[in-house]
Structures are given as C-alpha cells and as structure tokens.
Symmetry: C2
Amino acid sequence: MIDQLPQGFRFAATYAGIRKKKNDDLALMISDRPAAAAGVFTQNQVRAAPVEVSAKHLAKTGGVARAIICNAGNANCATPTMNAVARETCRATAKTLSVKTSEILVCSTGVIGEPLDGSLIAGELETLAEIAEPGGFEAAAKAIMTTDTAHKVATAEVRTAEGTIRIAGMTKGAGMIQPNMATMLGFLFTDADLGPKPLTKMLRSAVDGSFNSISVDSDTSTNDTVFLLANGASQVRPTGIAREAFEKALAKVCEDLAVQIVRDGEGAKKLLRIYVDGAASDRDAKKLAREIANSPLVKTALAGADPNWGRILPAAGKAGVPFDPSKVDIYVNGFRVCMRGTRADFNEDEVQKTMEEPESVVRFHLRGKGRGQARFFTCDLTEEYIRINAEYRT
Amino acid sequence: MIDQLPQGFRFAATYAGIRKKKNDDLALMISDRPAAAAGVFTQNQVRAAPVEVSAKHLAKTGGVARAIICNAGNANCATPTMNAVARETCRATAKTLSVKTSEILVCSTGVIGEPLDGSLIAGELETLAEIAEPGGFEAAAKAIMTTDTAHKVATAEVRTAEGTIRIAGMTKGAGMIQPNMATMLGFLFTDADLGPKPLTKMLRSAVDGSFNSISVDSDTSTNDTVFLLANGASQVRPTGIAREAFEKALAKVCEDLAVQIVRDGEGAKKLLRIYVDGAASDRDAKKLAREIANSPLVKTALAGADPNWGRILPAAGKAGVPFDPSKVDIYVNGFRVCMRGTRADFNEDEVQKTMEEPESVVRFHLRGKGRGQARFFTCDLTEEYIRINAEYRT
C-alpha cells in the first residue's frame, strides 16, 4: 500500500479492449489544478505519434499539463493513422475534463505497426474521469504494464520548514518486445510548487542517473517517455537545502523505479550494478559502464556466476574511451579479480558463490587522476530472454 | 581440397600442448622469399601482446615479413609476461628460419589472463620448419581454430596477360568466448608482386567490406588481426584492369571467409544478410546496417522466423543517423513488409516460411536522393549462444 501520495492528483484505470488479455489497459492521471510539466523522450529517430504530440503540447503550453492519458497493448506507432489517433485522444480527454487539448499528455505502449482504435479510448473517458481518485495510483501503474511481471511504483517524502512535499512515481518496461513492445514509460507526480523550467532541469538530471543508466537488451523503443508533473498543492516552494533535498528524493525515486525495470528484465534472474571510477570525465565513465552493461558476454557470464574479468576488460576496451589497461583494477562483489590489467589473486569458487545471489556489483577502477565516475544497472542474459523474444507472434 | 594455392608459401601445424584438447594448436606459415606484408588490428583499447609486437614489426620493416607464427588455446593477453613471450616467440622463430626477428608476425588466440608458456612454442619450431610444405595450408587453418566447429578457407585465381596470380586465405572465429576466447584471425597469402603500400590499402578496403562488416555478438576481441602477405612468386605485378581484378578477388576471398565466420557463430543456425541503400553516405548506411545486425530483438526474431519489421525500424532508429521513417521501405527475403514506415501488404505465413531457410536477406531502403549503401552479415541469437557462454569455466 502506498500512503505517501502527493496531494491533488487522481488516478483511474479500466479495461478498454485494446489488448486481448482482459487486464486494465487504459489509465487516466489527473492533476486537479494546472501542473508544471516536464518531459523526456526517446532519442530514437523513429518516434511514435504520442511522443510527437506530447512534445508539441509541452512546447505549446510552455510546460503546463492537466492530465496524462496512457494506453497499453498498442504503441500507436508506424501506422498511417497514428497522428490522428493521438491528437483525437488528447482532444477527447481535454473535452471530458474541460481543459485545453494542449494540456493533455498522451502515451502508448504495446504492439507496433498495427492501427490503434481511438474510439476504444474515447469510449472510456467519461467513466475514467468519474472514478478517478487519489487511491487509484496503483491501479493506474498496473494498467500501463505490458510484459512486466509486476507493477512498479516508488514514493518519497521531503520535509521542509514550510511543510511536506511528496513525490510518487510509476514505471513500466522489461525489454523492448514485439508483440508486447515493452516501451519504458515513467510518470512522476509531486505536489511541490515548482515551475516548468527548474522542473525540466531536475527531471533531466534524475533521468540521466536512472532511466538512462539501465539496459536490458540495448534496444531502444520508439515510445520511451518520462513525465514529471508538479501541481503545487503542498503550497511548498522548495529553495536552498529544501530544493536539494527534493532533487535528491526525485533522483532516488527514479533510481528505485529504474532498478525495478532491470530486475524485471525479460528472462532476467539477476541484477548487476556497475560502478566506474577514475575516468577522465563522468561522460567517459558512463560510456565505459554502458559498454560493460551491454556486453552479451558479460551478461551471460553473470547468468553463469562466472567472475570473468577477461570479458569485462575487453568490453570496456571497445567503448571508444582511451585508457591504459595496465591501470585497471576490477572488483566483483568486493573481491579484486583483476589488478593492473592482469589476473589478481582471488579464490574463484568464493567469488562465484557470491555471484549466485540475486544482485552483483562490478567495480571498474581506473588508477590515476581522473575523477569521472558513473553507475549503470543491467541484468543477466538468459535462455528465457531468447525464448520470450524468438517465439513467433501468434 | 585446395588446389589453387599461391606459390612460394609453406605451412605446418602441430600440437604443442597449449590447449588441453589434443588438437593441433600451433601453426607456422612461411614465405620462401621476403613478402610485402600488411596488417589490420583490433580497435579495442585492450590489445594483446602479439598485436603490439606484430604492429611494431610491420612498422620497423616498412611492411616485410617472412613468416607468421600463430598459436591457439591461449590469447597471451592481460598477463605480466605477455610481452616477453610474444617477443621471445618471434626471436626463436626468426632464429629457426634464419631471418630477422622483425620479419616475424605473431598471433595468439584463446583464453585471456592466463600466462602462455613460450617454451611450448619454441620447442616445436624446428619440427614445424622442417615439415612445412605448400599442402600444409588446411592443417594450419585447423590449428588456429578455437570454438569454431569447422575450419575456414577460401581461394581465388586472377588471370592476367602476364600470368596467373593466386590468393588463399584462412580465418577463425565464432564469437568472443572465454574460456576459448574466439578472436577473429585472418591470414591471406598471394603470390602477386605488390609493395607494402598498395597492399595495405587493398587489405584495408577488403577488410572493411568483410571482417569489419560482420557481427556475432557485438563483442570485440583483444587479439583480432588480419594479415596479407604478397611474395611476388608469380612474377606478376598487376596493374590497370588486372589490378582491379586482383582487388575484386581479394575482396571476394575476404567476404567468403567473413560469411563463414558468421555461419559458424556461436549457437547460430541462420545467416542474415543486411543491405542498406539510399543513405546520405556509405558511412551512414553502414551505421544503420550494423545497428540492425546487433539488435538482440532482430536476431531473436530471425531465430523465430518472424518477419518483424517493427523491430528492424527502431533498431535502425537508434543508430544516430537522421532519417525520416516515412521514407523507409523494408524487404525481407524479397517481400516488402514495411512501406513508407508503416506495415506493407504481405502474407505473414509466406514470409515466415522463407525465414526458416538457413539464409535470409533484409533490405532497408531509404527513399530519396542518397546513394550511400552498405552490407552487413549477422546470425540469429539462439538459446545455444547462452548455453555456450553462460557455462561456468571448468
């Protein structure tokens, strides 16, 4: 049970018949007052219509939103009707809530290339608006799931001298699959009183260290979207250390959600946290961490509980970041397995045993003066991933 | 049987006890006269000692070589002794053949991070030099194998007005694995009379369109090396159209070998040829083709015989190459499955059936004025790949 929800938001979910399986597939998330809004979108060249329409709306309002309408089961992407459907969905939602069309944000996730029937959404809007309530948060988090095996939520509370601010977030994603293309979506709500500009900056920073620092299979979706809505209902405008505390809490919520995605990665049984330090810059460190995270050989080694630094070192070596291998130390679960680019003295059985746990940690340490560091989360690559993704669509 | 070997080369192989399994693990390849030599090496930041030493030798001689000494079973990489062992191997080989140390090229492939016992190699050099003969080509090709399930050779003949030139090549590689790290090695021999400079240019171009246009698992080895030796024994110095014919034949041999690697990819059951055309440049086209080739979702779709263009389009979309999705047509085995970025009219069962064959072709066509094109080869991603790579080292 979630008991720390921000004030002034209401949520509702229902089954609109978009996906075959009769689980809720449509969620409406309403801010009772105009909320400052920030969005981060997929960097894929191929962007689904909801991404285009939502980005346009945020630009038009300068960052104000009243509601998010999100469906699962169909990505509304790569079809001739996609733009019309996304626009019409916003229009209908705005009409139902008596707000401007540009104040509606829209998201879709699911199969790509098959037309989404917008009337299925439109037909449920009245009901959704009627049943929406603060307690509908988890129902909404469930309705946006595709191949996820569990719904994913996180909350935080920030106490300031002026009062308490709350943050609540939900996310979905487990890989990028067809038929059930598991786009990454994240919706964050806070009752802090913040404008669109600082909000956008905070969201970008939080996403960079969380949703942009995870990998399941290195494939990027056409629909990836994270929204942050701040409606000011707490009447607290965080400044100074309160603002810092807020940013920290936001980052924490995002990281928590991002880790939930990796844990739920398709076929994944284990989580791997990768820490890189001593690089020339944070950017370089992140490149190294990402390359280690995306290496199929590192991910299969994790599946096999193999402390195989001989895969980690070359994976980093192809990141396009210059480094001297003889200055690299690698630690697995606290054990140094590679020292100065060659095998360290360690007990293989002992390290292997620790890698059978649900979580492992790799530290890639560059000896030197660099202060760049990064963190990346990934999961193991298992036969189950292949089974899930090689099965022919039916 | 190979009957078109270039003149003036001799080959020998033996079991030197470097790998546990008693298959030949050491090959010596000799040019009877000084040969012009060109090399292309891994771009990984982590380079094994043989790569460093061979590159240094080529620089020192300005591109002259008398022999290649290659062992399998140990990569001679990431150990404190690696440089000494690679250098000593060259010195001993040079002494045996009475040539300069800098005229020896050295390669190693196999386990990383474990010391290679150079005396195992040194102890076999006399015998190898003695038994080396032109017909030893295939035995050498077998001795350099690691996880390969078959040895890989290709030959070509170029008839010119001045006489016949021959090219013979061997390669190994099936993924990059530990314990048997399957580095990609390629050795090419020709009796054409060409200097190191044009040879290097020709090799780079041929490698670009072959060994650098394939992917099994997107992991790059620390030892990847391709050598081309031209000893002039045919006394034919190709110019004009004969030179063009030679370059074509060289490219063909490299492509043939590269495709053999992909076919033998770890756990692979199917080959996928990816063609991209209509891009702004060849470089852009190659980026798009590589991204499609490396997508786990495309590779698992191939395993499942799923003509899933909804995975191909977003895979291309994350290549960092701008394009308009509404100008993309995608063909699978000749069937148009995506037209102008949306689903084309095709019979799914029919296309699926063609994807059960051992070879499939994806064409990614950008409508427009761009003339950039590229080709890339990859294989399917199967549960067998995971089994091979997730097994704990024993």
